[in-house]
Symmetry: C2
């Protein structure tokens, strides 16, 4: 029996090869993981456990618990100068369902979506499944930061949306306020959607500031913001995120989500409310990621990798072309065999000649990894 | 900006009108709710709360926690004589994501899917979104039980799948073993999929037995079973379900699910493990639903509704054509205004001239509803 013909076109996941081998090896150091190692705040756990014991977990209202949606809107307005209220908010099963729901809501077959390379592979996979077309633009020529000029050249009459992902996975870069404003003007001018995946918005290092297009009034009708609690609050397994958009579009997003998952976990939504209402100090975690990232950045530079200094997230994208001519999958596999350090091949992000390293291990482990790489590339 | 053109074709939800009015009214009795009022077992809550306090909730493995998948396969094999192992199991965000993932995995535009009326509206909505076609067959001519003859007449060269939902929402009926075998032979013969939505499998009343096509070896390659914990274990807000299929198809289903939600809540999966591993007595809840359903059934018959005796679930579909000539939306609204009893218009299930009543209120409340209806239709 035939299945959905688009499934064949999905790219294989290159991390898997590396991960499978890494798990077999003793003394390997796994720097592939895009998941916080720092723990969820205790108050979220304790309040959620209590809530579960005292309340039957019924279906949440479609689109999300009212109080949660209110808190999310408030949080964004405070943090990023937006003007959302609860009618702008759809609660989702993590940012993944947010991205999926956004694309499934706005795309028709044949539509084009502009995606910035290096890119998080979810985007193009979803676009393929919807029989739409990914149009790539390259940000590596501009220090891993896209700009309005690069984007403008890729716009055609078929363009439906641009996807931005800053702070960037895998690059760790952010855009300047000026550039965000220019890009916002561009999407308004061309009457297309801007999907801003801001899942790393709270992980921005000192001396840097993240500007969300949500702060720009003029782009509000074109804008779809996706965010969640996985990275900022170390709540990956809770699967809780949200989409912000204009109200009409929000009701369409809701329909897609309702026909897909009905509604996200009621307890996870409660956990999200606690995360936003309690004054949880996220500063400590952020400082830790920053310290690790800058430490690893310096080690990699010293060894001979070309690296752009990360401004946020917990990722570093390192260009190894001065060290090896292997393709990124072979390079990653060889690195693993010879040093025990597991990294993600850049190919996964459309970044051949690069590897991605995650700073989701403590400083001692990262330094051990750095030491091994230094040893290895000495020769 | 244009959005997904298929969204316009989705049917509005007729329950909403009734619900909105019901919530405004004092002393109304809401019999629209498709959600258990009986509580989740305490041991699930206590063990899950403890687990959450003692373990960081990381991302679950793609496709579901290993132990959970093993327990699900074991449960189905014990209960329904199937031969699944963990590689046949995909864990989903409730049965809703199971249905959605199944249809998105197998359908191409233009495919036909046979749906049995009265039907749960999720199916046709999803089929529409996928640019495929719902081909309805009518089971009301056969006591709200479809059979192989009815289905066979609807099969064309474009048919990709048949969806069965027994025990049936909204009818409360189940199929005989003989009929399940005949339908299984039919789908094998025509090389099409059989999607069996078995979410009410554990709610079958005494003297009746639910036969799952999962027990029939010959149909295993064609079969996609969808089930979950919402109804059997009163775990609606946990959003946890699963799909059982052959292993090749399971890996395709996994891709769709991965690109949509990444993976379901880790805690909910843990709760599902507890639900399956602890010996939880579901018999008490079942007896309660049975008592309520048969009580309401007798009341409705006495009043003059035509009702088929429910064999399971907690729903009753009642034909009011001897009592009123109104369409089902108007009838439901008038019933609500005049008696305060809220029911779902049959239109929601393609069953004009009927209403659906949920036995998810206690016996006293159901009897009060019955009394009001009896009063009302006396004249």
């Amino acid at each position: 029996m035939e299945i959905n013909s688009k499934l064949k076109e999905l790219e294989p996941n290159f991390i898997r090869h590396v991960l499978a081998r890494c798990q077999e090896m003793e003394d390997s150091i796994n720097l592939t993981v895009g998941e916080p190692d720092l723990k969820t705040s205790k108050i979220i756990l304790e309040k959620s456990a209590k809530y579960m014991l005292e309340n039957q977990l019924y279906y949440a209202p479609l689109g999300g618990v009212l109080e949660f949606r209110e808190e999310i809107a408030k949080f964004y307005n405070n943090q990023y100068g937006s003007t959302y209220d609860r009618e702008n908010v759809l609660v989702t099963v993590g940012a993944t369902e947010g991205i999926s729901t956004a694309l499934r809501t706005i795309l028709n077959p044949g539509d084009e979506v502009i995606v910035v390379k290096p890119d998080y592979p979810l985007y193009s996979g979803l676009i393929t499944l919807l029989d739409a077309k990914t149009v790539y633009v390259d940000s590596t020529t501009n220090g891993n930061k896209v700009n309005a000029d690069i984007l403008k050249k890729a716009i055609t009459s078929k363009t439906k949306a641009i996807i931005l992902n800053y702070p960037s996975n895998p690059c760790g870069t952010i855009l300047s306020q000026e550039e965000v404003e220019k890009i916002s003007r561009l999407v308004v001018e061309h009457n297309i959607y801007l999907i801003s995946d801001e899942i790393y918005s709270e992980l921005v290092f000192s001396g840097n500031k993240f500007y969300s297009p949500a702060s720009i009034k003029e782009v509000k009708d074109n804008l779809i913001v996706v965010n969640g609690f996985s990275k900022s609050h170390s709540m990956t397994g809770w699967r809780i995120g949200y989409v912000l958009s204009n109200k009409t579009l929000r009701n369409h997003l809701l329909k897609i989500s309702q026909y897909t998952i009905s509604t996200p976990s009621t307890l996870s939504q409660y956990g999200g409310i606690v995360a936003l209402k309690e004054s949880i100090n996220l500063e400590l975690n952020l400082k830790e990621y920053e310290k690790r990232s800058l430490d690893l950045y310096n080690m990699l530079k010293k060894i001979g990798f070309e690296v752009i200094k990360p401004q946020g997230t917990f990722y570093i994208l390192a260009d190894y072309s001065k060290l090896s001519t292997l393709n990124s999958l072979d390079f990653s596999m060889k690195l693993l065999e010879d040093t025990g350090v597991a990294v993600v091949p850049g190919k996964s992000f459309g970044a051949e000649g690069c590897i991605r390293l995650s700073c989701t291990k403590n400083l001692d482990v990262l330094r051990e990894a750095g030491k091994r790489l230094e040893e290895y590339f000495k020769d």
